[in-house]
């Protein structure tokens, strides 16, 4: 869908993107992560052709990115807003027409979306009369109105209450199911876990991590397990694992154990069975948040 190849972007003395490449597959929800100032917005602006890279290329469905692709991309910027004094309906029509829709087609689709979101009565309202959450909803609709193949959402959930955030999340999933590829830039890692199939991490102008969510999580597994036992292991020295932590509950003690080199989880179980009854066993898989913080710190 989108091939980003060796993008370099420099501002005066600051290099915002240094040789960044990534592949975004058709139909995925792609998480673009990174701390503030890492270069995410620079990259997104280049994909949107708001700015041009100093070197490197981007291909959209195999074609070199060109102005004609603008109508196939929907962009919800992090810093977003609307004309305060303009009526919602007129404003949506304007934005949709700028994306290349005819006035008639745009009207039809706006009506469809307004019904779907149950906001038909907003047509004649002015933006300044709406709450922030309502404005965000309108803005989201404006982003997807022209049925773009690629939707770029920068912090789409900021400003939403939990109920509306859930509504928007469902809409994102539905758009994705209907074939749209979604680039999702955020700091909210729990939403990344819920939505993304693929993530890339940008830090200090470099891409430092890229892959499917599953494979990245697998890569960050470090043979650590949480084992619930009837007995406390603090006095026991295990042959197969190190005890990292233990936490006493009502009926069991949960031990965090890291396997020693050359042992598998079954070896650990074999060693534990004679010592105590086992009530639970669970592998510790790092959350995206942990991976994020770990990689950025390293």
């Amino acid at each position: 869908m989108l091939s980003i190849k060796n993008i370099v972007k420099e501002y005066a003395k600051h290099r915002a993107l240094d040789d960044v490449s990534m592949e975004i597959e058709q139909g995925t929800i792609f998480g673009l992560l990174g701390p503030n100032g890492a270069g995410k917005t620079s990259l997104i602006r280049i994909i949107n052709q708001i700015t041009a890279p100093d070197s490197g290329e981007i291909f959209f469905n195999g074609e070199k990115l060109a102005p004609k692709h603008i109508s196939k991309i929907g962009y919800l910027p992090e810093e977003r807003g609307l004309y305060k004094k303009m009526e919602i309906g007129e404003q949506m029509l304007y934005l949709a027409q700028l994306k290349g829709l005819s006035r008639a087609e745009a009207t039809k689709r706006i009506k469809f979306w307004f019904e779907k979101m149950e906001i038909q009565s907003w047509w004649k309202k002015k933006v300044e009369d709406l709450s922030k959450g309502m404005q965000q909803k309108v803005q989201f609709i404006a982003t997807v109105l022209h049925q773009p193949d690629l939707i770029i959402l920068d912090e789409p959930f900021s400003g939403f209450d939990p109920v509306n955030a859930a509504v928007i999340k469902d809409e994102i999933l539905e758009l994705n199911k209907n074939g749209a590829t979604i680039i999702f830039s955020t700091h909210r890692m729990e939403s990344v876990e819920e939505l993304c199939q693929h993530i890339a991490l940008i830090h200090k102008s470099h891409k430092i991590l890229d892959g499917s969510l599953k494979s990245i999580k697998n890569a960050y597994r470090n043979n650590t397990f949480k084992v619930g036992l009837a007995h406390d292991l603090s006095d026991v020295t295990l042959q197969t694992a190190y005890l990292l932590a233990s936490q006493e509950n009502d009926e069991q003690t949960v031990h965090t154990l890291k396997l020693k080199e050359g042992f598998a989880v079954n070896n650990l179980l074999q060693e534990l069975i004679p010592i105590s009854s086992i009530s639970s066993l669970e592998e510790v898989i790092p959350s995206v948040n942990e991976i994020f913080i770990k990689t950025v710190k390293d």
Binding site: A12, D54, P77, E79, R80, G81, L82, K85, Y94, L98
Partner: protein
């Protein structure tokens, strides 16, 4: 291009639909006309009440010497000053002119009445008394006033201009007025509509809609659309003003000219009062001359050059205003960048009103009227006086080149500026933005 049209449409309609636009469009011409009418009526109304003077002349110099004028008559009652005062109380428009017996030594004269006499009335009486005294003194010196009147000469210069169509009245007053008006309107318009462009840019930047829009159109298209849209608003406003004021003043002129006929009639009746009548005829002549002269000015030419210089000057300056708007986060921050924009405008306006008007063909006037930053104002002043074709062409070409240049410079600053937030911007920063690649 289609997208630029959409932007122009939005910028235009969102402003023209505003109540403030309608208000300004109708208010400005009606205010002018209203003022005109008000002055006319006040002037006319003042003349209405006839005033009568009882002259109590205890010095004997002025007895039967005053001449009756329009709305002003004199009589010489035989009763004393005290008695006259009593009768004056009863009549509103009666004044007592009391000249004391020792007038020749002290010059003391009193006017007493129920109302305060107006300044015009006082000066009329004063003039008459001075004339009477002068005549008396001249006679006493043995000079005949008839001879003296013959020595008064009247000079009236009629400036004529040699043109292809023969001699034309070089109506200096009217030319001055037309040039001044054109220059003043352009000066005003550049500020008003330039500031609107700037405010529009700041609005888009602070409301953060700009990033959504530049993901659909190029920043340059957005800037151009805004500039052209607001320019169209300006032109619409001017056209409406011209239409409205010509309409209203046509009605006004009708009213005035019917009033004039009355005036002529009374003048004919009062031929005796030649002194006053003569001056008013002279005034009428000057006005007629002015209008006759105004007719010699080629208004189609002036209006079309006005529109050209308005559009050219507006494009040149509004691009700079847009660049300033893009560089700041709020209107209060614009000050530091406004000086280079406002300075040439104010500078030209002041020079134009003082130098160009008095010396439209001097080399300073020439340079001011060809340099693009100053030409919209300076040339408007010069045009009614007549400008050689080659100078006009040079000025027009340079103005077009000028706005292409400023638009190019401004757009390079604009494209970076609109996406910058929360940073205090310096001139150095602007220069850096300018040199950024795409």
């Amino acid at each position: 291009m289609n997208k630029v049209l959409l932007i122009i449409q939005r910028e235009y309609l969102s402003r023209v639909k505003k109540k403030s636009f309608l208000l300004l469009t109708f208010l400005v011409p009606s205010l002018f006309i209203g003022m005109y009418v008000a002055i006319f009526f006040i002037y006319k109304h003042n003349d209405d009440n006839a005033k009568r003077f009882h002259v109590i002349d205890e010095s004997g110099i002025f007895q039967n010497q005053f001449k009756d004028q329009k709305n002003l008559s004199f009589d010489y009652p035989q009763h004393s000053y005290g008695e006259a005062k009593k009768t004056a109380r009863k009549h509103k428009d009666v004044f007592i002119l009391h000249i004391s017996p020792d007038f020749e030594k002290t010059g003391n004269v009193e006017i007493i009445g129920e109302k305060k006499p107006g300044i015009a009335l006082l000066s009329d009486v004063e003039n008459q008394m001075e004339d009477i005294l002068r005549n008396k003194k001249l006679l006493a010196a043995g000079i005949d006033t008839a001879v003296l009147n013959n020595t008064k000469s009247k000079v009236n210069i009629n400036a004529k201009q040699l043109t292809d169509e023969g001699e034309k009245d070089a109506s200096v007053g009217a030319t001055y007025a037309v040039g001044f008006l054109g220059a003043f309107l352009i000066y005003l318009a550049l500020f008003i509509y330039g500031a609107q462009v700037m405010r529009g840019v700041i609005e888009e930047k602070t409301s953060r809609i700009v990033e959504v829009i530049v993901s659909s159109v190029k920043p340059f298209q957005l800037m151009l659309g805004k500039i052209l849209g607001i320019g169209a608003v300006g032109l619409t406003q001017f056209l409406l003003w011209i239409l409205l004021s010509t309409g209203l003043s046509a009605i006004g002129t009708n009213m005035l000219s019917s009033g004039d006929k009355d005036a002529v009639k009374t003048e004919l009746k009062d031929t005796k009062n030649d002194l006053k009548a003569e001056t008013s005829v002279q005034k009428g002549d000057a006005a007629k001359q002015f209008f006759k002269a105004a007719e010699t000015i080629n208004f189609t030419f002036i209006i079309s050059t006005f529109i050209f210089y308005f559009i050219g000057g507006y494009l040149l300056y509004s691009a700079l205003f847009a660049a300033v708007g893009s560089a700041v986060d709020s209107e209060t921050e614009t000050q530091q960048f406004m000086l280079p924009i406002t300075l040439p405008l104010i500078f030209t306006f002041i020079l134009g009103m003082n130098v160009v008007v008095n010396n439209p063909d001097s080399s300073l006037s020439f340079w001011l009227s060809v340099i693009p930053f100053t030409s919209p104002i300076a040339m408007m002043i010069r045009i009614p006086f007549g400008v050689p074709d080659w100078q006009l062409a040079l000025s027009a070409i340079l103005l077009i080149a000028g706005f292409v240049f400023t638009t190019w410079v401004a757009s390079r600053i604009y494209r970076v500026g609109i996406l910058m937030h929360g940073k205090k911007i310096t001139y150095k920063e602007l220069a850096k933005w300018f040199s950024y690649k795409e």
